[in-house]
Symmetry: C3
């Protein structure tokens, strides 16, 4: 569209304002080429100012323009007014400093099975491999060395980063982003006794179904279902090095911070938040909107909206009360000793 500045080219403030639906102030003809924090900005850069506390940094900033709150005085210099300067600054950044985007088409070193379907608008990078019956949707990007196993479905507008492995006929919705090294569809940790004192793998037939607008962080792993499927609801955001066990079901918009592990068949409700390094046992129910604190060990259900902390889990209130009490325990030991001595004296 002629309205939208071509990404990566220098952009007039007036055009940027139009593209973002914001109000421009001051010299709207100023040309922007990049973005930078307020103290490091050079002429040509856009920066942002999200509270009056930083106004003096703005005074000495060399930036050519600023995204700021509606009522902040920027001394008449070029500005975009926004209710959320941080958010709109990053929207501007996506226009001014876009990520390089590979051209549509399949790189000659990629191996695509004749029975796979790759949309003509998709881009498949060097050394990718795409198995029989796999399907890659419109405008989706596969960076270098992505492995798409047989029967895997990738929706439209997805971005699959380098060295990702997708297998077990996993299905991704639209606008899914997988950071490098993600593994989707590995076999779950499920074994039965082999009758000779060892363990034998259970044959897996389930898959992984990932909703629209999901992101998964680098080197995270999501195991396939054993019989039914492992499901990641729409809008979920998973950080790096996260482990999701077989047959887990995550609702919509669940947030899972780095290094969290969830064992098999656990269910997590919509908009729950699992903080970094939390560990969740298998077959547990975590309710919608629940909050599981960092390093928390969850071994039993968490009610909707409940906040739990500690390993093993306690309610946030109990956790803080116990932690506070624990601090006083060494002193308590002395106080009890004193009471006992007083008692002995009395006898």
């Amino acid at each position: 569209m002629s309205d939208t500045p071509a990404p990566g080219s220098p952009v007039r403030l007036a055009d940027l304002a139009k593209a973002l639906g914001l109000e421009a102030e001051g010299d709207a003809e100023v040309v922007l080429r990049g973005v930078a924090p307020i103290a490091e900005a050079e002429p040509g850069d856009l920066t942002f100012l999200r509270s009056a506390a930083f106004v003096k940094d703005w005074a000495s900033s060399r930036a050519s323009a600023v995204v700021t709150l509606p009522d902040l005085d920027v001394g008449g210099r070029p500005a975009l007014r926004s209710d959320d300067p941080s958010r709109d600054f990053y929207r501007a950044a996506a226009i001014l400093v876009p990520e390089p985007r590979p051209r549509p088409g399949v790189h000659p070193t990629a191996v695509v099975h004749p029975e796979a379907e790759v949309d003509a608008s998709a881009a498949v990078g060097p050394q990718c491999s795409i198995g029989a019956g796999a399907r890659i949707g419109a405008r989706s990007l596969l960076h270098d060395g992505v492995m798409v196993g047989a029967g895997v479905r990738i929706g439209d507008d997805c971005e699959i980063h380098g060295r990702v492995v997708l297998r077990a006929a996993a299905t991704l919705g639209d606008r899914v982003t997988l950071q490098p090294g993600v593994v989707i569809g590995g076999e779950g940790f499920g074994y039965v006794g082999d009758g000779e004192g060892g363990l034998r793998r259970v044959h897996n037939v389930g898959s992984v179904i990932v909703g629209d607008d999901v992101e998964v962080g680098a080197n995270s792993t999501i195991d396939r279902g054993t019989l039914g499927h492992t499901r990641i609801g729409r809008g979920c955001k998973l950080d790096n090095l996260v482990q999701i066990g077989h047959n887990c079901v995550l609702g919509d918009h669940v947030v899972v911070v780095a290094q969290v592990g969830i064992a098999g068949s656990t269910r997590v409700g919509d908009r729950a938040v699992l903080m970094g390094q939390a560990g969740i046992a298998g077959h547990v129910q975590i309710g919608a909107g629940a909050f599981v604190g960092p390093m928390t060990g969850v071994h039993k259900d968490v009610a909707p909206g409940e906040r739990v902390l500690g390993a093993p889990q306690r309610s946030e209130r109990t956790f803080h009360k116990e932690s506070a009490a624990l601090k006083r325990l060494p002193e308590l030991l002395r106080r009890v000793r004193r009471l006992e001595t007083a008692g002995e004296r009395d006898e």
Copy 2:
């Protein structure tokens, strides 16, 4: 063999029973094509019923046949009788819904060193690379993009999933399965002072030796030995994102759940179980049959058969006693205050 149904084709119940060594009941001519949980099954599906509690689900199930206990009444419908319906259902699943298996041979995009030996019955997928002196055993499968470094030995009937890296002349036994993204033979975390305030890597000459029937989960890492070798005993099952440090020695049939980390030179006895996110210090001995609970921090030896929990580790009994006592601590503080007040009154 003419006895065994061809995998992936429709199978008569009678033939399935024969292949599994089970008793068929009801109409043994019924043809099965897939497997499903009892409530989701369609005609043509096999399902399972492992206790009387689910009999009413069976009544409304559309499944064509069921694997169930010897004495459960299934109303005369087609059934396979089993002492362990869950185990035999999954055995049936492996016949009805087999994993697609690549054909033997080396994909033209794989790079195989002229001094490597690949058995004629092995399959080497696209974009694999196999170094000098490496050896791949009979019927082993290397999926896409596996890197087999110089001198690495892979036994018979192994399955090495996508993007696995094997280096440092590691040796795998027979029937070893490595999930995608596993790294075997990275350099261990061993440094010496460089005399200038920094650290210099210790030159590693050790390797990794993995026994028969071992499985390693996605994106797990097993470091090579510094001087001697890192050893993983036969039948060990390691889950995803597990870290095994240099020179660790795991006995046979050790179970290591997701995100466990074991520092260098630790020994774990046969059939020990390390639950999720446990952390084990270096140079520790964990006895045979020991149980290390989830998130447990082990910094000293664990006796054979001992059960430890907590960080730092305590015996299971002590851990539960302390946890119960901790719950009463806030109340205890009030009680002691009351005793002190009473004492003051008495004076």
Copy 3:
């Protein structure tokens, strides 16, 4: 140089001594071919002996020579004398059992963008891909399947192991080693509300800057900066499966043990040590020389040189006092009950 023995060939003790700058004793003509622990050594092997406690192992060792302390009696057998036998043994190992080193040049299956610069002395392995504007320094090694994104800079004498992904125009200094599966420059975990109850990724423009002599362990992940850069200071050593969030700044010579996670924008001072599985919240300052114990949860600043343990963090002293007191808590409950009973009796 004619002085230095050719690596991997048999070496006379006299030549080894010269190469290492050590004193040889006994028959300096003995020829060495390998290294081994003292009990497993064969003729032709060099071993080491770091204290008098092992002298009797030496008596029965079949090793051809030993690296040992200046004053330890080795019975006149061939020896190298060293203040630090362990360190010098590994220096010798690097000569006797060197890692195979690929020849300079680009493997024909690697994909190198015409606008990338690869030094003629660098080695680029099979199935690597190198993007536009990337630069690979002198004598750097890229093992198989490394992905070097557009604009990435790799210094001199680096070693990048198999399946590493470098993106977001990351910059590595000289002598950087990345173990297999490392991901540098994934998008950080940063989102803003999308106004419809979901989250929208913040557009990242920052990168990752890694100093000289840094090592990163297998499958670790270092996210790119959102606006400014994520920085890893010179000499830092990161173990396997470590997570470094966007915009973190690590000083020089920081040691980060396996499975540590650091959330976004945290700063870690020079020579701080973070032990295994510690979790560090975002926007925290950890002072120079601080020690964060294993599994410690850091949610607030740690002073320079301070030692913290526990989750949530406490000073090491407090942690040990509280742990000791906790052990006495079950007994304390009984003692308080006794005092209360005594008080009731008195009434």
